[in-house]
C-alpha cells in the first residue's frame, strides 16, 4: 500500500523527535545523578584515568580521606591515551596516572595539561626533582626502570650485561621484549637504547641487528614474561617492577640490569581543560599522592607489580626487593626530545622489527 508523502514525513519526524527525547532524557538523568552538587562547596566526581596497578587503592583512599567521589578508569597506558586522544574535543578525565614521561611531554605540547602545579605535601629527593619539567606540566610520583633483563637462573648462568652483548651468537633467538607501540613503558626503553647508540638512525640499525639475531616481540610485560616461563625465550627485556614481581613467586627468576637502563618515572598529569572544581580536586589528589598516607597506599596497592617502585618522596622507603637505584647504571632520555618522536619510532618498530 503506497503511503502519501506527508504520512511518511510525519512518521519519520515523530520517530526522530522521540529518539532525541529519549537520548536527552537518558543523558540528563545520568548526568544529574552523577553530578550532584552541594550548596556550600561544589563537588563533581573526579575521574582518574590510571594504568598504575596501585591507582585504584590510592583513589579509594583519597575518596575516604576527602569525601570527593573518585571514579577510576583502569586500563593500559595505550588504551587510556587512545581514549584521551579520541575525547580531544570534550575531555572526560581529570587525572591521568601512568608510567613514562614521554607521552606527557607530547600531551603538554598539545596544551592538554595543567601547567605550574606541583604538590606541596611531600619533599622530593634530588633525583625526584630532576624529573620535574620546567613548566611543571606533570608530576613524577616514583621510579621504575626499563628495560631490565629477567632470566631463569637455572638455564642462564651469566646474564647479558650490555646492549651490545645481545647481538652475539650466544643470545641468538633467546631474547624477548614488548612492542613499544602497544606497551607504553617500553617506548622509554627503546628511546633510551637509541639515544645510547647515538641517535635514531644508529638506534634503528641496532634494533635491525637485534631482530636479525632472532629477537622475539610480544605485546606486554606479562606476555613476554610468560614466554620466559614456558621456555620460548631465555631473557625477557621488561620493566624491572614486573620482573621483580614475578621473581617473588618464581624464585628461579632473577633480574639483572644492563648498562644502562632507562629511568621510567610514574607520572601524574592534570587535565588543563577540566572544570575549575575538578582541577581543584585533581590538585588535592596529587597532594594526597605525595602525603604519607598516599605513599603507603602506592606501596601496598599492587604488591607483585607496580608497588615495587623506587620512591622519590623523602621519608618513603622502597620494598626490600627493590634494588637501590644508585647501584644501577641509569639513563634518562629527554622526554621533550623523545616524546615527539614516539609515534614515528613506534610505527618504524612495528614495520621493521615486529613484522
Amino acid at each position: 500500500m503506497k503511503r502519501p508523502r506527508l504520512y511518511r514525513t510525519l512518521q519519520i519526524a515523530l520517530a526522530l523527535t522521540g529518539a532525541a527525547g529519549v537520548l536527552a532524557a537518558c543523558g540528563s538523568s545520568s548526568a544529574s545523578s552523577s553530578k550532584t552538587s552541594s550548596s556550600k562547596t561544589p563537588v563533581v566526581p573526579l575521574v582518574v584515568y590510571g594504568a598504575e596497578g596501585y591507582a585504584p587503592a590510592v583513589a579509594k583512599g583519597f575518596q575516604q580521606a576527602t569525601g570527593i567521589p573518585t571514579e577510576m578508569v583502569n586500563h593500559s597506558t595505550g588504551t587510556l591515551l587512545a581514549k584521551i586522544s579520541a575525547e580531544a574535543e570534550n575531555p572526560q578525565w581529570g587525572v591521568l596516572w601512568t608510567d613514562g614521561s614521554d607521552a606527557y611531554a607530547a600531551l603538554d605540547q598539545q596544551h592538554y595539561l595543567l601547567r605550574g602545579f606541583e604538590p606541596t605535601t611531600g619533599t622530593l629527593t634530588s633525583l625526584g626533582k630532576s624529573l620535574v619539567p620546567a613548566d611543571q606540566s606533570y608530576i613524577p610520583t616514583g621510579i621504575t626502570t626499563a628495560a631490565a633483563f629477567v632470566y631463569n637462573s637455572k638455564v642462564v648462568k651469566s646474564p647479558p650485561a650490555s646492549w651490545s652483548s645481545l647481538l652475539t651468537p650466544q643470545w641468538k633467538g633467546a631474547i624477548g621484549m614488548n612492542n613499544p607501540a602497544i606497551s607504553g613503558p617500553t617506548y622509554t626503553a627503546v628511546a633510551s637504547i637509541m639515544s645510547q647508540q647515538g641517535g635514531v638512525a644508529k638506534g634503528e640499525a641496532y634494533f635491525k641487528k637485534l631482530a636479525a639475531n632472532g629477537l622475539h616481540v610480544y605485546a606486554t610485560n606479562k606476555v613476554t614474561l610468560n614466554a620466559l616461563l614456558t621456555g620460548a625465550i631465555k631473557v625477557a627485556m621488561v620493566q624491572n617492577s614486573a620482573g621483580i614481581g614475578f621473581a617473588m613467586t618464581s624464585p628461579n627468576l632473577k633480574v639483572a640490569y644492563p648498562n644502562k637502563s632507562a629511568i621510567l618515572p610514574g607520572v601524574l598529569g592534570i587535565d588543563g581543560k577540566a572544570s575549575k572544581t575538578e582541577i581543584a580536586e585533581a590538585k588535592r589528589f596529587a597532594d594526597f599522592v605525595y602525603s604519607a598516607k598516599g605513599q603507603a597506599l602506592m606501596l601496598s596497592g599492587d604488591p607483585h607489580g607496580d608497588s615495587l617502585f623506587y620512591p622519590i618522596v623523602k621519608g618513603t622507603k622502597a620494598h626490600s626487593e627493590v634494588p637501590n637505584l644508585k647501584a644501577i647504571p641509569t639513563d634518562y632520555p629527554n622526554p621533550i626530545v623523545w616524546g615527539s618522536r614516539e609515534a614515528s619510532i613506534n610505527a618504524w618498530f612495528t614495520s621493521n622489527i615486529v613484522q
Partner: protein
C-alpha cells in the same frame, strides 16, 4: 508489522477481542514501527561507523588534525607494512573461507543427510566453537605447539612445525575454525532441503559419484557463496588470532596494524579509519561479485514441494569412518584449545607435564581479586539485555532481508549489515567516542557519553550483524502465508507472529539469543573504551588480572568466564525443554 507493510490485507479482519486501548496502541506501533527501527539502526550502527570512517578524510571535524579535507591518511595506510597487512588479511580471509566452507559441507552432509551417531553432540559442538573467543583457540594451540608447551613436555617439540604454525598456515587454520559455525549455518539448510532426488536422478542416468557432485554442488552454490562471504568478513575483522600469532610471525595483518595505530601516542586514528574502510569495502566488493554471479543464471531449483530427504543409513564401517572424521574436526577445533587453556591455567611454571605439577592455585587466587563479583554481575545483566535487544532487531532485519531486492533501501540494508561484520570492534568503539562525545550534543542536552546507555548501544551494534546472519536462514523459511492465515483468523500482527511463527523459530531464536549473550559477556573493545568510569565489565577485569598477576590466573579467569557462558547455555536449554510449549520443542528439533 513486516507482513502488514509488504503484504497488506485489504479485507477487514474479524472483530478482535482487544480493548480500544490495545487497538490504538497497535495502530501507533504500526504507524511508528518502521521509522523507529530506522532511527535505532542509524543511531546505533550507522552514525558511529560513519563518524570514524569520515575521520579518514576530515580529521579536523573531530579535532584530530588541522585539515578539513586530506587524503594523507590514505597515503600513509596504503604503503609498506600497512598495505601488506591488508593484502595478507584478504588472502588469509579467502583461504580461511574456503577451508571453513569445505569442512562445513562435510559436517552438514554428515549431520543432515546421514544417520551418523551422536548428532546432537556434534551440533552442540558447532555452537560451542561459535562461543569460544578466537584468542582462546589461538592460545590453546600456542600452548600445545609452542616451545615449552604440551608437546614440548612430551619431548615432541620441533622448531619446524612450530614455525609453520606461527605463520600464515596456523593463522588461516584458526580463522577457518572460527568460521566453521557461520559456514555451517549458511549451507546446512540447503543441503538438508536438497533432498536425495537430484542425486538419485544423476545416479540413475549413469553418473558416477563425481558427476553427481557436479550436479548437486551448483544447486547449493548460493548458500556456499553466502557462507564464503560471511567467513571472509568474520576472518578479516578478527583481532584475537592476530594478537596472538601476528607479533612473532613476521606476517603483517590488517587488524594488528589497526590496533598498533590506535595504541601508540598520539593515536593515528586516520590510518586506523582507512584500514577500517578497506575492510568494509572488501566485503562490499565481495557481496557485489556474489550478486553478479548469482544473477548470471538461475539457481532456483529448491521449491516448496520438495520432500524431506531420508537420511542415508551408514554401514558399520561408514559409521566408524564418519565418527572418526568428526572426532578429528572437533579435536582440532575444540579439543586442543580446551586442553591448552586448561594446561596453561593449571601447570606450575618451569615444570614438565606431570600430574604432580598441576595446581588449582590460579583458580583459588581468583577469589582474592576484589571487585570481580561486581564485574561478572554487571556483564551478566548487560549480556542478558543485549541478547533480547539484538534478537528483536536482528529478527526484524533478517525478516526484511528475506524478502530482498524489493527496494534500494533493502539492498542498502543488506550490504550494510553484512559489511558491518568486517568492522573491527575497536573501530566501532572508537566511532562511538567520536559520535557521542561531540560538544554539539552536550549543547543539545544529549549527554549520553560516559553512561551505560552508550555501552549498551555499542554492544547492540557489535552483535547485530552476526545475530542477523544467524537468523537470516530461519526467518526466510517463515512463509508470509502463515502469518496471513493468522491474521485472517483474527489475530493481530504481533499475535500472529507469536502464535504462528515463533513456535517454528523457537530454537533458532534461543540460539541467537545465547550467541549474543556469550559474545557480549566477553566483549572487550567497546567495554574498554566506553564503560562508564567506576565500572568494569568482565573482559576488562580479565585484562586487568592478566596485567597484574601471572598469565595462569588470567587464563583461569577466561575459563571461569567461559564456564559461566556454557552454564548459561545449559540452564537456558534445560528451561526451554521444561517450560517451552510442546509444539515449540517438537518443531524445533530439526533445526539443530
Amino acid at each position: 508489522m513486516v507482513a502488514l507493510a509488504e503484504r497488506p490485507i485489504e479485507s477487514k479482519p474479524q472483530e478482535r477481542s482487544g480493548s480500544v486501548l490495545t487497538r490504538w496502541l497497535g495502530r501507533l506501533a504500526e504507524f511508528l514501527g518502521w521509522p523507529i527501527f530506522w532511527v535505532v539502526l542509524v543511531v546505533v550502527l550507522l552514525v558511529p561507523t560513519a563518524c570514524f570512517l569520515i575521520l579518514a578524510i576530515s580529521p579536523r571535524l573531530f579535532d584530530q588534525g588541522s585539515a578539513w579535507f586530506t587524503i594523507s591518511a590514505f597515503r600513509q595506510a596504503l604503503t609498506g607494512v600497512t598495505l601488506q597487512g591488508m593484502g595478507d588479511s584478504l588472502v588469509v580471509g579467502v583461504l580461511a573461507a574456503f577451508l571453513a566452507v569445505t569442512v562445513a559441507i562435510v559436517l552438514a552432509w554428515l549431520l543432515q543427510r546421514t544417520n551418523v551417531g551422536g548428532r546432537r553432540l556434534w551440533s552442540i559442538s558447532i555452537w560451542t566453537i561459535l562461543l569460544v573467543p578466537s584468542y582462546i583457540i589461538a592460545v590453546g594451540w600456542q600452548v600445545m605447539l609452542g616451545q615449552g608447551g604440551v608437546l614440548g613436555s612430551l619431548g615432541l617439540y620441533s622448531a619446524s612445525y612450530s614455525k609453520i604454525f606461527f605463520g600464515p598456515v596456523g593463522y588461516t587454520m584458526i580463522l577457518a575454525i572460527k568460521g566453521i559455525p557461520f559456514a555451517y549455518f549458511a549451507v546446512a539448510g540447503s543441503i538438508s532441503a536438497l533432498g536425495s532426488s537430484f542425486e538419485d536422478a544423476a545416479r540413475v542416468h549413469g553418473g558416477g559419484r563425481l558427476s553427481t557432485l557436479r550436479v548437486v554442488i551448483p544447486m547449493v552454490l548460493p548458500s556456499i557463496l553466502a557462507g564464503l562471504i560471511v567467513v571472509f568478513a568474520e576472518s578479516i575483522a578478527d583481532f584475537g588470532t592476530a594478537a596472538v600469532i601476528a607479533p612473532n610471525a613476521h606476517f603483517p595483518i590488517a587488524t594488528y596494524n589497526l590496533y598498533v595505530a590506535l595504541s601508540s601516542y598520539p593515536a593515528n586514528f586516520g590510518v586506523a579509519a582507512v584500514i577500517g574502510c578497506m575492510l568494509v569495502a572488501a566485503v562490499a566488493v565481495a557481496l557485489m561479485l556474489q550478486k553478479r554471479f548469482l544473477k548470471s543464471r538461475s539457481y532456483a531449483v529448491l521449491g516448496g514441494r520438495m520432500r524431506m530427504s531420508s537420511r542415508a543409513r551408514l554401514t558399520r564401517r561408514g559409521q566408524i569412518l564418519a565418527v572418526g572424521v568428526l572426532l578429528v574436526i572437533f579435536f582440532v577445533a575444540l579439543g586442543v584449545p580446551i586442553i591448552g587453556a586448561l594446561v596453561s591455567s593449571m601447570l606450575k611454571p618451569f615444570t614438565t607435564l606431570s600430574i604432580h605439577n598441576f595446581t588449582l592455585a590460579a583458580y583459588r587466587g581468583l577469589f582474592g581479586v576484589s571487585g570481580l563479583g561486581g564485574s561478572i554481575s554487571l556483564s551478566f545483566k548487560l549480556a542478558v539485555l543485549n541478547g533480547f535487544l539484538a534478537l528483536f532487531l536482528g529478527a526484524v532485519i533478517a525478516r526484511r532481508l528475506s524478502k530482498r531486492g524489493t527496494t534500494f533501501i533493502d539492498k542498502l540494508l543488506d550490504v550494510t549489515v553484512l559489511a558491518a561484520i568486517a568492522l573491527p570492534g575497536l573501530v566501532l568503539a572508537a566511532g562511538y567516542i567520536f559520535a557521542y562525545n561531540l560538544p554539539v550534543l552536550s549543547s543539545l542536552g544529549i549527554d549520553i557519553y560516559g553512561t551505560l546507555l552508550v555501552l549498551i548501544m555499542a554492544y547492540l551494534a557489535g552483535a547485530l550483524p552476526s545475530t542477523t546472519r544467524v537468523l537470516a536462514g530461519p526467518m526466510s523459511q517463515v512463509r508470509g502465508s502463515l502469518l496471513d492465515a493468522g491474521r485472517v483468523h483474527g489475530s493481530g500482527l504481533a499475535q500472529s507472529w507469536w502464535r504462528c511463527a515463533v513456535p517454528l523459530l523457537g530454537p533458532s531464536l534461543l540460539w541467537a539469543w545465547l550467541l549474543t549473550f556469550a559474545a557480549t559477556f566477553l566483549e572487550l573493545p567497546a567495554s574498554e573504551l566506553l564503560a562508564p568510569p567506576g565500572t568494569q565489565p568482565v573482559a576488562v577485569a580479565i585484562i586487568q588480572v592478566l596485567g597484574k598477576s601471572n598469565i595462569s590466573q588470567g587464563t583461569a579467569l577466561s575459563i571461569v568466564a567461559l564456564l559461566i557462558d556454557l552454564g548459561m547455555i545449559i540452564v537456558i536449554s534445560l528451561l526451554f525443554r521444561l517450560l517451552a510449549p510442546k509444539g515449540w520443542r517438537r518443531l524445533g528439533a530439526n533445526v539443530l
